[in-house]
Amino acid sequence: MNFKGTLPTLILEALHHEPSHGYRIAQSIKERSQGVLDFKEGTLYPALHKLENEGMVESYDGSEKTRPRRYYRITKSGRKMLTRDRAEWRAHSQAVTAILGEA
């Protein structure tokens, strides 16, 4: 499914509860959408770097099962953006549902 433009919001949502590394973020999005949002994983990192440049997430070095990992965590500005995006999405989806009708 094409979900261009919403990947940053989905990444912020995946990081909302705990810091995570790239691979786990990708799997979390796929699993929570039950495979509907099946995106190319090579596009995940540019989106993560963009969020990092904008100060929405920050990265740090960690490890998982002795393997070094780059972890990402959401910042205060990231949380604010996520709240705003959720509200926008809710309004948008209600408007589309009102036009198309409930399935």
Binding site: H21, Y23, E41, G42, Y45, P46
Partner: protein, 211 residues
């Protein structure tokens, strides 16, 4: 693995050395995790390699996205060498003060020439003073926030274009081809710096990125 190496070569094309190393590290890490999980799920080594690579998607598309957020080699070079023109001035305090003194001296001389009836010469001196003003200001003004940097850049371009319009007067448009060919390296530098500003957090901006 050759296929992954090809993917990485395409995905890191035109990126700076540091950016390319970062991409290689994160993609290798991602690939290893995907491969490991596929093997745990019962795939053979070859199948695991293939599925991990397919999951990464198109390397050229990834490269386009990476170039929008990470420094390219041209941008990294500019970041490294961008302040080169200021070094000879900043390393010689007398030269710095000389440049700073040029503007008020030129203003006084221009006013003197205009009041003594030599308006044309006075206008030329005034134009030179306006042209040199951004150079002196860049060295001495405490521009340390993005907002002040933006104001300075607007003033700099207005002063530069204004000075050229004063020099050429009504013939500015007739000579526009010459002005554009002279100014395009400056405009290009400005464009690359704008791209670097979008990619680097403000905390790691060197001084010349503000100007």
């Amino acid at each position: 693995m050759i296929e992954l190496e090809n993917w990485l070569t395409q995905a890191t094309r035109h990126l700076s050395r540091d950016s390319a190393a970062q991409v290689r590290g994160e993609i290798q890490e991602h690939f290893d995790s995907a491969r490991e999980e596929a093997i745990v799920g019962g795939a053979t080594s070859d199948e695991a390699d293939r599925s991990a690579l397919v999951a990464l998607g198109d390397a050229k598309a990834a490269n386009r996205l990476y170039r929008q957020v990470l420094l390219t080699s041209a941008e990294a070079r500019m970041l490294r060498d961008g302040n080169r023109e200021a070094h000879p001035v900043c390393s010689r305090p007398w030269l710095k003060w000389l440049i700073f003194a040029v503007f008020p001296v030129a203003l006084v001389v221009a006013a003197g020439l205009i009041f003594s009836g030599r308006g044309s010469a006075g206008r030329d001196v005034l134009t030179g003073a306006i042209g040199i003003c951004p150079l002196a200001a860049a060295l001495l003004l405490p521009i340390r926030t993005p907002a002040w940097g933006r104001v300075f850049r607007i003033v700099k371009w207005v002063a530069l274009v204004g000075a050229l319009m004063l020099i050429y007067g009504p013939e500015t448009f007739q000579w526009s081809w010459l002005l554009i060919s002279c100014l395009w390296p400056l405009a290009w530098t400005e464009w690359i710096r704008a791209r670097i500003r979008r990619k680097l957090p403000v905390a790691s901006w060197p001084r010349h990125l503000y100007l």
